[in-house]
């Protein structure tokens, strides 16, 4: 069971893999911390791209930026949000799989 979780986290964030793999016995606290870290990292990147989208749109509004620059920044923000949502779904699913495991 540790292998699929490990491969999921390595593929998406990389940072959480070790923590998850080493916490098969007390899955809940260790895994929760690792999952939280991965999500925090992703949310920080979403925040950053949302911020640059915001400034691109305000640049467009005051005439210093172009429409396409604003739209591309918005699309980048949306893409990174969707990536985060997908990773969150996978992480939550993996976490629930671990929690549901009968020992």
């Amino acid at each position: 069971m540790t292998m699929p979780i490990g491969s999921i986290t390595t593929g998406s964030t990389g940072a959480a893999a070790g923590a998850v793999r080493s916490s098969t016995k007390d899955a809940a606290p260790g895994a929760a911390g690792a999952f939280g870290d991965s999500l925090n990292t992703l949310l920080a990147s979403v925040d950053e791209s949302a911020g640059s989208a915001n400034s691109a749109v305000s640049n467009m509004m005051d005439g210093t930026g172009d429409v396409h620059q604003a739209m591309i920044a918005l699309q980048k923000a949306e893409t990174s949000l969707q990536l985060t949502v997908q990773v969150r779904n996978k992480l939550v699913q993996a976490y629930q799989d671990v929690m549901r495991m009968s020992i």
Partner: protein, 142 residues
């Protein structure tokens, strides 16, 4: 996805460059009859010089991205002589009654403008394709 971001940045730089081409063609058309500018001389037709420029991303630093963007290297003035037209009543006419007009050929500018607009649209298509590709890659997670 990082390399696709580099492709996206390359397309974005092309959009900037072709927008500049449209701007210059439009100002040439707008000033086709401007007989005086800030320096008192008739307007001179302007041309955009484009040059390729590597896009700067985290990936390109490691040589993993192959996307090459484009940038406006320069906007140069066309040095061909001005057109002249006999119009003695014009305030900018010389002593023989000839007015110097900009060296702008409007039909040629319209063709340039359409070419730039098409190039812009082609790059919009490229941006759409990259976004579509990223979206499909994200659907792998579903």
């Amino acid at each position: 996805m990082p390399t696709l971001t580099a492709a996206l940045n390359a397309s974005a730089s092309a959009l900037d460059a072709h927008r500049a081409r449209i701007e210059v063609a439009v100002s040439n058309i707008a000033n086709a009859e401007s007989t005086r500018g800030p320096d008192g001389q008739p307007y001179r037709r302007r041309d955009v010089v484009l040059s390729s420029a590597p896009v700067e991303t985290f990936d390109s630093a490691f040589g993993r991205a192959n996307a090459v963007g484009v940038q406006v290297a320069d906007v140069v003035e066309d040095q061909t002589p001005s057109r002249t037209r006999y119009e003695p009543a014009h305030p900018d006419a010389d002593k023989d009654g000839f007015v110097s007009l900009p060296n702008v050929d409007v039909p040629e500018e319209v063709v340039d403008m359409l070419g730039a607009a098409r190039a812009y649209q082609a790059n919009l298509q490229a941006v759409g394709l990259i976004q579509d590709t990223i979206k499909r890659a994200l659907e792998l997670g579903k």
